[in-house]
């Protein structure tokens, strides 16, 4: 029997893997990959809550998931466009070397 805790544990493991990827990559695309993994784990938790938790409108969790996926797609498009634009100026998307704002 699948229970809510099993879904939440899988989501938490996926979130921590995504967090590690997001904070430890040098390439900006790698950072974005970690962020997408974290968003996926949050979506998994929302779908799990929609499936198992008592609620007057149980479909709401899946509606939130659809919104999160929409915003994540917009975010990915803008972030990758930023990476390409930065590459055009600096010939690099190494986030350790993007210190233009540091004085």
């Amino acid at each position: 029997m699948i229970d809510l805790e099993h879904v939440l544990v899988v989501g938490a493991l996926l979130f921590s893997i995504g967090l590690f990827v997001a904070v430890s990559r040098r390439n900006a695309v790698g950072v974005l990959m970690g962020i997408e993994l974290m968003l996926n784990s949050v979506n998994l938790n929302l779908v799990g809550f929609a499936r198992f938790v008592e609620s007057p409108r149980p479909i709401d969790g899946q509606v939130f998931t659809v919104f999160v996926i929409t915003v994540a797609a917009a975010e990915a498009a803008v972030a990758l466009a930023l990476a390409v634009a930065i590459y055009r100026y600096r010939q690099s998307i190494d986030v350790d070397r993007l210190n233009l704002l540091k004085w």
Binding site: L13, T65, A77, Y87
Partner: protein
């Protein structure tokens, strides 16, 4: 939802998802990392199906496994002279400890909390029509805001990647 096949499928898909997510962190080539990321997205879509969320699973495959990963591949291919390797920063051991600590805290809270669970089994029969109704009745305003956000993101992405030589520079 009590059939053993569903339970086996859930755990197999969970192991597949977590394993390919780990491979994203481990593998050296960035292209291979994106391919493992696609595998992880497909695994999450399978988990949605075992949780009786069929519409969300289809959306996951379309948008994540289809669009976002192709966008990432294009971004990698458009930045050829930057480092292709997926190497972590040198001080990655404390970062992995931090991520593991946060994951442990989340797991502890998730297991300890007394969730108000519904008793019934097999929650949803069809979800697409219910999601459509919910998008148009209580969630009209967020739905419209999401469409405006998509337009803004699309225009912004086009402006950002426009060649700088056209007028005053993008």
């Amino acid at each position: 939802m009590d059939e053993p096949a569903v339970i086996v499928a859930f755990w197999v898909l969970a192991v597949l998802t977590l394993g390919s997510a780990l491979m994203v962190a481990v593998v050296r080539d960035l292209i291979h990392a994106v391919l493992f990321l696609i595998l992880s997205f497909v695994g999450v879509a399978g988990l949605y199906i075992t949780l009786s969320a069929d519409f969300v699973a289809v959306v996951q495959v379309l948008i994540y496994a289809g669009a976002v990963s192709v966008l990432m591949l294009f971004a990698i291919l458009l930045t050829p002279r930057s480092a292709r390797d997926n190497a972590p920063v040198p001080y990655s051991a404390p970062l992995s400890a931090l991520a593991g600590l946060i994951g442990a805290v989340i797991i502890f809270v998730a297991v300890q909390t007394d969730w108000a669970k519904a008793g019934d089994d097999g929650r949803f029969q069809t979800t697409a029509s219910e999601i459509g109704r919910a998008l148009l009745n209580p969630y009209v305003l967020p739905f419209e805001v999401a469409s405006v956000l998509l337009v803004i993101a699309m225009v912004g992405a086009i402006v950002l990647v426009r060649p700088a030589s056209e007028e005053e520079g993008a």
